[in-house]
Amino acid sequence: MAPQLPTRCWRQLQQPSLQSLTLALTRRPSPSALLLPRTTTRGVKYGWSTLPSRAKPTRFNQVSSGLPAPTTGPAAALKRRERTTPMRTGVLAIKKGMTAFMGKTGSRIPCTVLQLDKVQTVANKTRASNGYFAVQVGLGERRADNVGAPMLGYFEAKGLAPKRVLAEFHVRDQSGLLPVGVQLMPDWFHVGQWVDVRANSHGKGFAGGMKKHGFKGQGASHGNSLSHRAIGTTGPSQGGGSRVLPGKKMPGRMGNERVTMQNLPVLMVNNELGIVVVKGCVAGPKGCIVKIQDAVKKPPPAQEFIEASRKVLDERFPDAAETLTAARVKHLQLKEMRKQGRIEDILAAGVVEGGAGAVAAPEVTV
């Protein structure tokens, strides 16, 4: 294949602007001057190839060519996961412990109490910029001196206090995205709906084969010596491969892995206590962080409820968008100042604004 001319060489020829036309009329440069770049970017010195600079696998498989839609790639992946992606974002919560609900008929339902602590939306991920739709949600609070500079800048741009944890919740499409900075309360869910709850299980430390994988162990007697809880052989010997097959279950770290409890009914939501109570147990110790989202394998909440809860958010936080814009503007200003090393000036100005003579005032130590 013959070497291709880079686009920048002939683009001007194809779309002559008015200015370049007039220039061409007046100066009349030679065609070779227009075609060739001024500075050498290609040549033996920089490596040379006859292949096009970038392969185009879809060159002959355009959408217009009547071929079936590709079954791989980002678009296909999104389409494939459409049915198993919840419509709404979930929330982060803290596991507070287990209790029971006593029914009127004498039934007893064990349940887990999950508390929402200042759960706010922090960012939206979109198909255009990230390849998928998701809502980033933050929980709790964190001291500023416990946060690194990059994240301090991130929260500054959002107009939010630093959060303890951030997590993403995939949503099906654009309609699942939320305004940044709104606070999600327990009434984001309703009693009777199903949720999936994810958390990291209790860490058990280094555990043997019997505890970790339920191996049988070995005999207590019959001449057994020092291998009562041993895992036994790990594979065949010569002839059978004489190696340990990949994935062989062996002793090792047990627990502290993500466990999803699917289809838990919501028994109670209480905004005053900030809690969502779900039926049954949830992995992890008390105080662990859990993710609650609409169940994947059950029908989603009714469309009316989804719309109503969105409306409630808009009603509670009518100026979320304005706050975000203002915070972004402020962030850009401060960022520029930081770049120029003039942040001290801003601080001085800000402090004077806060109170007279505050520059000399003792600073609060964190």
């Binding site: 507070k96 209790t99 029971a100 609900f101 006593m102 009127k104 008929t105 004498g106 007893r108 109490v113 508390q115 929402l116 602590d117 200042k118 706010q120 609070e141 500023a144 001196d145 500079a149 301090l152 800048g153 929260f155 500054e156 107009g159 939010l160 206090a161 606070q183 309360m185 209480n270 905004n271 005053e272 206590l273 900030g274 809690i275 409630v312 009603e315 509670r316 100026d319 304005e322 706050t323 814009t325 203002a326 915070a327 402020k330 962030h331 401060l334 930081r338 942040i343 001290e344 801003i346 601080l347 800000g350 402090v351 806060g354 505050a358 005032a361 600073e363 609060v364 130590t365 964190v366």
Partner: protein
Amino acid sequence: MNAAPLARRPLGCLKASLRQARQQRAPAFLARQLSTVTPKVPSTGALPEHNFFRMIDKKTKKTRSAFAIYAQPPPVPVTTAAKATAAKATVLPAPPPDPMPLLDAEQIKRMDPTGARTALFTKTRYAARVGDVLQVTHRRGGEPFAGVCLAIRRNGIDTAILLRNHLSKVGVEMWYKIYNRNVAGIEIVKRRAKRARRAKLTYMRQPKHDMGSVADLVFAWKKTRKVIGSRAGAGKGVQAVGKKRK
């Protein structure tokens, strides 16, 4: 004994006091150098209230960088729909750090409006304790179950008692959730003569300590109650909780 070394030890020395002074001073000094926050800047327009967090260079002692730290989110306003129904407050109160006791209290109030069940097992002089012989009456009829109380598992709404008895010479143990609707009443048949010095009387399962059947105790108690009842003109049990027995 150790008089000689004690006498030799000096009462104080410069080195020790200096070391102490240095230790006391160091953290605050270091912290001030590393990071500080400025007084708050009030909210202007859409921008919420914030202050600045400074990062101070250790060597030059100058502000290396600073970031705006926004205030924690304000209380969430109550929606108009909720306002119309009941709530008078315009904002939701901050949730308590530990909701479990409040949730428990709420549940107990719902399941035990009179407070009789709670009173029977709160740690007072008149409360039931381990070692007492108790009788549980079921809501849907059936034979009441009596037995010696081996354990009280105190866990809010989930509080339960373990009763042990012998039925046809076989040891039988039953756990009862005291706030369960199926438990119609709990009565003290016989108090233990002396306070048990264990919280869980599991040793009473051993043949040596096993109380055996409590049927005769229950029989005697019923007899006395009838006598008292006939004298008083009413058949009420003093410790009866929940629904009245028919």
